[in-house]
Amino acid sequence: MLHTVNKSPLQTRDLDSCLLHLEAQSAESRLLLIEDGVYGALAAAPSATTLSDLANQGRLYVLGPDLSARGVAPEALIAGAEIVDYEGFVQLIVDYGPHQAWV
């Protein structure tokens, strides 16, 4: 299953709720951060600890164009987060669907 979060975890609890549900699923589930959700992947963010585990398992993705738009350099992100483009977004849905948007 592919989860997407599009809000900053500093603003809403969407990422928290997503992670609680994702943890209950198989290791096949993936998380892609898009739009303001990309701030959650900042190494400095409180969410970094939880997301690092996911990143180390190769299950965390961040949408590159949304990082660029916000001036967030890849170096600012937690280690292991994989940056994808729009094509990669579509491929993730194909590979890991169904897709749930935690809007």
């Binding site: 299953m1 609890r13 969407d14 709720s17 609680l20 549900h21 994702l22 209950a24 699923q25 198989s26 589930s29 169904p98 897709h99 749930q100 948007a101 935690w102 809007v103």
Partner: protein, 130 residues
């Protein structure tokens, strides 16, 4: 080609889950979700509704939206059964965090824990989030 498509459409039933995670009156999401759910009933699909996080508040008894001059749509959840939409799942942890139990809800539902809710989500073909 068209015949083949029609046959396909008639025989393929997909599992649709409508996920509700927002409180009812602060935004239009809850009402919009309900409208889409009612429309979906016309397509004879396998439809279920999930209520978690603030979404459980949509089902809270005693709502009187007329007090804020808005449509009182909470009773509509009771009409879903008439459209053969009978799978309403409510997450236990979300109810508890708001001091609620199934007795506080306007309709009979199936209360499930977070793990079960996660499993139900992963079994769907299509998930619509509101």
């Amino acid at each position: 080609m068209n015949d083949e498509f029609d046959e396909d459409a008639a025989s393929t039933i997909k599992r649709f889950m409508f996920v509700n995670r927002k409180a009812p009156h602060g935004t239009i999401y809850a009402l919009e979700a309900l409208e889409v759910v009612l429309i979906s009933a016309a397509f004879d699909q396998d439809v279920s509704l999930a209520f978690l996080d603030d979404g459980v508040l949509q089902l809270r008894k005693g709502q009187d939206a007329k007090a804020i001059e808005m449509k009182n749509f909470a009773p509509t959840y009771r009409a879903l059964e008439g459209y053969d939409i009978e799978k309403l799942y409510v997450e236990r942890e979300s109810l508890e965090a708001r001091g609620m139990t199934a007795d506080d809800l306007v309709v009979p539902v199936e209360v499930v824990d977070r793990a079960r809710m996660s499993a139900l989500m992963s079994e769907q073909d299509v998930i619509m989030s509101f």
